[in-house]
């Protein structure tokens, strides 16, 4: 039952239980504070990019702006539309908020993974990991949670009993289900290279820059994962779910007060979690930057704590990239979104997965690398030509039939 934490094997004692409870509390508080700072960070960076000042009144540099907004939302009147489905309307914000926090539990938040260490730390005489849970299915847990997160958005739009939120939620369900396939398939390559599903195992396998999965899998899965994750988060340029210009406010139009705040919180929390997941999967998580035996060590800080600093620095880079994308790219049209997901990302991730699998098999069996590469490239080329031919035929048929609508 308790395979998620090595500490809980055997007899159930008080100290491990307290440590686990403290970890739960720490993860929850870190999540909330990170979200608060992320909202501020996004507003500040975007205003910088748009030559504005941004929030600067509440607290130093406007740091407390999010807190002020949150308090304001708390005291606002909570409206429930007359035509809404009351039970589902109340349920939806929680279905969106709870998964956002759950997937944060499997991220290794620190610990010493250097020189073959497995990231274990000793607290009060108990060895444990600096992560809330290390389930055997690891990253699949995050995928399952992100699959559940669809419900919050879908049901919110539907239960509002209003047209625009419904359009938003129909878009959301189609978009998130489509991109989940690409997300999962690009992860396949990571599992293939590291040979494990657990997040701590994946981090432990990435000891130097050459072993970071972004290099070890070839850059393609990382790019696919980044795009699919952005779509999964409904962040620009994939924010068709809440396209202000078309859908008023999207799925959460009818929500007000604290229920709206929960959606808002979940959205930013998901951004933080997804950045941390990208760092864990592709950039070595809490591992320090090391190249050819030279480790960039932070002096005077114990290695276990240093992991947390590295993770924070790496996550910050991705958070900045997300804000940057939002400030730069215009929104996709709906058919472009579906084309990108189904016709580019899914075939590309599947093809790359097969290529890497062939390479691994060739290496294990001692086949000639050049022959294996040549044959796989030829097969991939033939598949690409077939796919293009299929697209061409379908486009021609559609033209002959006339428009569907």
């Amino acid at each position: 039952m308790f395979a998620i934490d090595p500490m809980l094997n055997g007899e159930l004692l008080w100290t491990p239980l307290v440590i686990v409870l403290l970890k739960v509390l720490a993860v929850f508080v870190t999540g909330l504070v990170a979200t608060m700072l992320m909202v501020w960070f996004e507003r500040k960076v975007i205003s910088g990019m748009q030559n504005r000042i941004g929030p600067n009144k509440a607290g130093p540099f406007g740091l407390l702006q999010t807190l002020a907004d949150g308090i304001k939302l708390f005291f606002k009147e909570d409206l429930i539309p007359e035509r809404s489905d009351r039970f589902v309307f109340k349920l939806a914000p929680f279905l969106s908020f709870v998964p956002a926090f759950l997937s944060f539990a499997i991220i290794p938040l620190g610990g010493d993974f250097r020189d073959g260490n497995n990231g274990m730390v000793t607290w009060f005489g108990h060895t444990t990991r600096v992560q809330l849970a290390d389930p055997p299915v690891g990253v699949l847990f995050a995928l399952a949670i992100s699959a559940i997160a669809v419900y919050g958005i879908m049901l919110a739009g539907w239960s509002s009993g209003s047209k625009y939120p419904l359009l938003g939620s129909v878009r959301a369900s189609a978009q998130m289900v489509s991109y989940e396939a690409a997300l999962g398939l690009s992860l396949g390559t990571v599992f293939l290279v590291t040979g494990t599903l657990s997040t701590s195992g994946i981090v432990a396998a990435q000891s130097s820059i050459g072993n970071w999965n972004v290099v070890a899998t070839g850059v393609v899965p990382f790019v696919i994962f980044l795009i699919a994750a952005t779509a999964e988060l409904n962040r620009p340029p994939f924010d068709l779910v809440e396209a202000e210009q078309e859908l008023v406010g999207g799925f959460n139009t009818e929500y007000s007060s604290i229920r709206f705040a929960l959606f808002y919180l979940a959205e930013f929390m998901n951004t933080v979690t997804m950045s941390a997941l990208i760092v864990t999967l592709f950039f070595g998580g809490p591992q320090p930057i090391s190249f050819g035996g030279i480790v960039l060590d932070i002096p005077l800080v114990p290695n276990g704590l240093e992991g947390t600093i590295w993770l924070f620095a790496k996550v910050l880079v991705f958070l900045y990239i997300y804000v940057w994308l939002r400030a730069t790219l215009p929104r996709f049209r709906y058919d472009q979104l579906m084309d990108l997901g189904w016709k580019v990302l899914i075939p590309a991730s599947l093809g790359w997965f097969m290529l890497i699998a062939a390479q691994r098999l060739g290496r294990d069996q001692g086949w000639n690398t050049f022959v294996v590469t040549g044959v796989s490239v030829a097969v991939l080329g033939a598949s690409y030509a077939l796919l293009q031919a299929a697209f061409k035929v379908s486009a021609k048929q559609r033209e002959a039939e006339g428009s569907m609508f």
Partner: protein, 178 residues
């Protein structure tokens, strides 16, 4: 502890299953189905079949029921159904009969096979101690891709046939129009 988890999960499954049948609103019924699927996932975890639990949630709860809801929302059939009329005459009697038969079959299977049921996981030598967290997945993969590779491939062909058939059926109407 195991009994507690079992009772909770089973309660979830039964409440969800009853909800699927008894709730009049299609969306509420679909949500009850999600509850049932979650309960089954919890039971899988309790039996150390973590991979099955994850796949259960990703595929059934995360994709299939989402598509159910998508269709319900898109077609706008989210009104309360009129339960007075039967689409097929005598449908309810036949359904009841089939239900009773199914229950009888299950009961007979349990009654006759009670001796051969393994109560502790000896079917697959499971790695309970947690030395190797991937043991579960490795065992599953090696049996799918060696012993049962034929059945696995045939199933995937079946799925492809189903997809192609669906595309063909849904496109024929527009072809006939022109």
């Amino acid at each position: 502890m195991e009994l507690f988890v079992f009772v909770c999960a089973t309660a979830m499954i039964i409440v969800g299953a009853l909800g699927v049948v008894l709730r009049k609103h299609p969306v509420h019924a679909a949500l009850s189905l999600v509850l049932t699927l979650f309960g089954i996932a919890v039971l899988f975890v309790a039996q150390h079949a973590e991979f099955l639990a994850a796949v259960q949630v990703i595929v059934y709860a995360g994709a299939i029921v989402v598509l159910f809801l998508f269709v319900i929302m898109l077609l706008g059939v989210d009104q309360v159904e009129n339960l007075k009329t039967e689409p097929l005459a005598g449908q309810r009697w036949v359904a009841g009969l089939v239900g009773v038969c199914l229950l009888g079959l299950l009961g007979a299977a349990i009654y006759t096979g009670a001796d051969s049921v393994i109560s502790r996981g000896e079917g697959i030598a499971s790695n309970v101690a947690g030395d190797n967290p991937d043991a579960n997945i490795q065992q599953l993969a090696s049996s799918i891709f060696s012993d049962y590779v034929m059945a696995f491939e045939v199933t995937s062909i079946l799925l492809v046939v189903a997809v192609v058939g669906t595309v063909l059926l849904s496109r024929r109407r527009t072809a006939g129009k022109s």
